[in-house]
């Protein structure tokens, strides 16, 4: 007897809808970010492009944990070929990029930015101090990707 088809959870369906939406696709077309592989719910890996710096990669991957989407998300800087969190040496340095990818926050498992679920939980004052950088459920994953893309293209981003 055939197994009944698995019903997709609302959070997964919402994420897939956003992946197919104009905001995400426009960033993908512009080379700002790309989905790497498929979605292994509640995980998805997205690589975000970085400004060219000598000896540094042209993009950094983030492995997102997306349960409850579009309510929130948290992302881990991710080594694509070895399937693990990036080491301190492999992370972006300098300016806000260095702050966002700091390895000493939450064991390096979450980005240190106000739109990250884990990071904002540890900073009760961020919602009032940085309201413009918070996760926006109406925008979804691109609200997070735009912040990461921006810090990786600032003049004081120094590469790895």
């Amino acid at each position: 007897m055939a197994e009944p088809a698995k019903q997709m959870a609302p959070d997964e369906a919402a994420f897939l809808e956003d992946l197919a939406g104009a905001r995400f696709l426009a960033g993908d077309d512009a080379g700002r970010w790309r989905l790497v592989g498929g979605v292994d719910w509640p995980f998805a890996t997205i690589a975000v492009s970085a400004a060219p710096r000598e000896g540094s990669p042209s993009e950094f991957a983030i492995r997102f944990e997306l349960s409850g989407y579009p309510g929130s998300a948290t992302g881990t800087p991710w080594h694509l070929t070895e399937g693990r969190a990036l080491s301190a040496e492999e992370r972006p340095k300098g300016g806000r990029a260095g702050l966002a990818f700091r390895p000493d926050w939450s064991n390096g498992l979450a980005l240190y930015i106000p739109c990250d679920r884990v990071a904002v939980q540890g900073h009760g004052d961020w919602p009032t101090k940085h309201p413009g950088l918070l996760w926006d459920p109406a925008v979804g994953i691109t609200s997070y990707l735009r912040v990461v893309h921006e810090v990786l293209h600032e003049d004081d981003y120094a590469g790895v």
Binding site: G21, R23, L99, I113, P114, D125, G132
Partner: protein, 155 residues
């Protein structure tokens, strides 16, 4: 083919169109009420209504802006001063930022420029640099922006 359509206070859309339709037909089918003018992203000149998308140079996944505003008056505030300039509705925030921080704007040094961003006046919204200025315009076809320091999320 598919193209991205930006409009005033409307979500970015990816629509399916034939490259043989005219600009007028595009605006009529996909524009908001009264929006008949079409621009290619970051191009100053409005497109001729009778031109086809193909002849206008609109290709797969191009970005266009449909608006009723002939020009968008942009006012940028910085350090107690303000400067204004008109832009085509399809000008990106990145282009407005270049003007606002350049020699015709507030002439920031490269170091100052790197530390600032544009935010919508009296709100907490910092538009993405890929957004079109026409998408942020009010009913009077104008936008007020603050050139503000970027937030450092420390502590």
């Amino acid at each position: 083919m598919q193209i991205y359509v930006h409009q005033q206070n409307t979500e970015l859309k990816l629509i399916e169109v034939k490259e043989t339709i005219t600009i007028e037909e595009l605006a009529s089918a996909h524009g908001e009420e009264g929006a008949t003018l079409v621009w290619i992203e970051d191009v100053e000149e409005v497109l001729e209504a009778s031109t086809t998308l193909a002849d206008a140079g609109i290709a797969e996944r191009s970005h266009v802006h449909i608006s009723r505003c002939h020009r968008i008056t942009v006012r940028v505030r910085f350090g107690g001063d303000a400067k204004s300039r008109e832009f085509a509705a399809g000008a990106t925030i990145a282009r407005v930022f270049e003007w606002a921080t350049g020699k015709h704007g507030f002439e920031l040094t490269p170091s100052e420029r790197a530390k600032h961003t544009l935010g919508i006046c009296d709100t907490l919204t910092q538009p993405d640099k890929s957004e079109h200025i026409g998408s942020l315009a009010n009913q009077e076809c104008s936008v007020c922006l603050d050139l503000a320091p970027k937030e450092r999320f420390e502590g």
